[in-house]
Amino acid sequence: MTRDSRDSVLGALRGAVRRDGDDAAARQAVESRLQRHPRGTVPARCDRDREVLAGLFVEQATAVDATVARVTGPADVPAAVADYLKAGNLPSTVRMAPDEALDSYPWGRVPTLEIERGRARPEDAATVTGAFAAVAETGTLMLASGPDSPTTLNFLPEAHIVVLHKDRLVGAYEEAWDRLRATGRMPRAVNLVTGPSRTADIEQTLQLGIHGPRRLHIVLVEGDSTAAESDG
């Protein structure tokens, strides 16, 4: 059935687009566009230096109800995570992505924090992940799936904590796509996350936290990033 249907649909389309024998040129145009992936207009707000972009990112992310803690270096990350859990009355156990980049933070300095690694379990209250990139334009995180970054960590918990190194920050989505292309292969899942889960389905009044995380917290790490760098 599906083979017949395929031929029938594609046949109908070929008849409809009426390229009149100029098929080679059309194929060339399509191949070239896929190869070159030209950019459209990139909003001017994205074109700033990194320091201004960091400010824009924080402004945009908090405008959509994420919270951001800025810390001066990798050494401060564990305390920032623990503080957030405490302030939000969350359990002190977190599920953390099995990502080597996260190993480089001195978690041992906060002995109250219990860390489990792996994919998310339904009972997890809070998860900790890194981010492939972050887009200042709209305060958006780009999370790429992989063996060290399971997708469920981004969606199952009540609170999702993202440790974001400042050198992961770009202005526009297009810059993040270029970084992703440089890794060689499109990940199975790329999640662009902009604030926590929300709905306005009850009388068109905005409420946070329906199916995905009720809270999204971003720990933005300044300073020298080499201590916490990974190959992405």
Binding site: T2, S5, R6, S8, V9, L10, A12, L13, R14, A16, V17, A26, R27, A29, V30, R33, L34, H37, P38, G40, T41, P43, Q60, V64, G118, P122, T138, S145, G146, P147, P150, T151, T152, N154, F155, Y173, W177, M186, P187, R188, A189, V190, N191, L192, V193, T194, G195, S197, R198, T199, A200, D201, I202, E203, Q204, T205, Q207, I210, H211, G212
Partner: protein, 480 residues
């Protein structure tokens, strides 16, 4: 109404019912203002918005001119990543494809993200009839599924339902909880929905989502949501099925990005939706989660027949709902009155093409041609022009009511004979002017009952426009 049994023929009766529905009218009043104000604010924050609209339009036009090639490229990439593409000429083939996948997976329940294609092919009833339980997981869709209703808006499917009604249906359905519990505020309703649906996500064998885009460059499918339900739907079950119509394909990640910049702003007035997810094939070797199977069902259902015709522009639609949010007709009658899956101006041009002029010919007539829909459409679809075109087709097919046809015929006869036209307008205008001189208006008038039933008709104050124009020598008065 259901997708299998449209009620678009009964449009006039549907409209009367909708206008008498106080709950609906309340919902419409809130929706109109909220959507319009939020969109306007978002557009004002992005100076590049209008040039992005032009580019978004051009991207889709380019795709539609090369649709066969981009679909082939998309299919090739999906297959290379270990996914499967299923082509469906019509709704029945698409339903069969989904059922076959579910059967092969031994599925008993499927969770679903929001998908208009699923509504278009009436998938839920079909799965149910075949012993598979479909569970809608978008909160709005879940509510209307429990109420056995179709969506009344593309992006706010349950905006016509009040909080108390949600509380009632939750009490009636979720019998596992204390019947005395209170569900008075939105937070309590959300918490209960989150708990109930979380279990369904974890138990489902297959997850079905729609797609906002298909990307030829990477073989990815894209969903845009705010709740995160689509992501749980497609990440937790063993099998992920994507339902998409042909025209959803775009060339590259950059092209999707350009259109994404206008999508959320036009729809909800957000700069970007909470979750935009690009899915590329099934789980990979070392992955700890994700579906083991990845299927894309590509639906035609009449669209290939629109390519290359004057209706092709409709295929640029990205289902943001801006046209209905700004439509004075939708603003009074809501979505159900349109009688099929797609309401508002986009429904008025899409439905006749998909289910036939005979079924949905009324819809393009429900417009004042005020042009607001075209003004706000992020893809610059000329909706009034397309409605006008469909009206012509309806007239040509002799489907319009006799009175309309006779009236239009009579008007055309006069309009083509200027001397006769002037005479035929001058005499009644003088007569009406004389009759109405004392009150200046008519409370009732023969042949104008449709007008005077709800308001007065002003009496003509003097000569006809044409007479005035002639008296002035056919020139404007010098201004100031």
């Amino acid at each position: 109404m259901s997708a299998l049994h449209p009620t678009s023929r009964d449009f006039k009766a549907n409209v009367r019912k909708a206008m008498a529905d106080e709950t609906l009218q309340k919902g419409l009043a809130t929706a109109k203002l909220g959507f319009r104000n939020r969109r306007a604010a978002a557009v004002a924050r992005l100076p590049e918005f209008d040039s992005l609209r032009d580019e978004a339009r051009d991207i889709k036009n380019h795709v539609l001119a090369h649709l066969d090639l981009y679909l082939e490229a998309f299919e090739k990439r999906v297959t290379e990543q270990g996914g499967h593409v299923h082509w469906a000429r019509d709704a029945a083939e698409a339903r069969d494809a989904v059922l076959a996948i579910c059967r092969a997976a031994g599925a008993r329940t499927v969770t679903k993200g929001k998908s208009m294609i699923s509504e278009e092919i009436a998938l839920n009833d079909f799965l149910q009839d075949n012993g598979i339980e479909p569970v809608e997981t978008d909160l709005g869709e879940y509510i209307i599924q429990l109420r056995h209703e179709p969506p009344s808006h593309i992006i706010a499917p349950a905006f016509h339902v009040m909080k108390e009604q949600v509380s009632d249906i939750f009490h009636a359905t979720h019998t596992q909880f204390d019947p005395e519990r209170r569900l008075d505020d939105a937070r309590q309703i959300l918490d209960e929905a989150r708990a109930v649906l979380r279990d369904r996500f974890l138990a489902a064998d297959v997850g079905i989502t729609g797609a906002n885009f298909l990307i030829a460059e990477t073989g990815s499918t894209v969903i845009v949501t705010n709740e995160g339900n689509g992501d749980l739907t497609q990440t937790l079950p063993r099998v992920h099925v994507v339902l998409a119509s042909l025209e959803k394909v775009v060339p590259t990640l950059e092209d999707a990005t350009t259109i994404l910049r206008v999508l959320a702003r036009s729809a909800t007035g957000q700069e970007f939706s909470s979750y935009t997810t690009f899915s590329t094939g099934p789980r990979r070797g070392e992955d700890l989660d994700g579906p083991e199977e990845f299927h894309v069902v590509l639906l035609d259902n009449g669209r290939s027949k629109m390519v290359g015709t004057e209706m092709q522009d409709v295929l640029r639609c990205i289902r943001c709902g801006a046209c209905m949010n700004h439509c004075p007709v939708f603003g009074v009658i809501g979505g159900h009155a349109y009688g099929w899956v797609y309401p508002g101006p986009i429904g008025a041009v899409l439905s006749p093409s998909l289910i036939g002029i005979g079924e949905a010919g009324h819809l393009p007539n429900a417009s004042t041609f005020c042009g607001r829909c075209e003004e706000v459409c992020p893809m610059r679809i000329p909706l009034p022009k397309l409605m006008r075109h469909l009206r012509e087709r309806e007239y040509e097919a002799r489907l319009s009511p006799a009175a309309v046809r006779w009236g239009l015929g009579a008007w055309a006869f006069l309009a083509k004979r200027p001397a006769l036209y002037r005479l035929a307008t001058r005499i009644p205008m003088r007569l009406l002017g004389a009759l109405g001189r004392r009150r200046g208006r008519f409370g009732s008038l023969p042949l104008a009952g449709g007008w005077t039933a709800s308001r007065d008709l002003p009496a003509p104050q003097g000569p006809t426009f044409q007479d005035l124009w002639q008296r002035r020598g056919g020139r404007r008065e010098a201004s100031r």
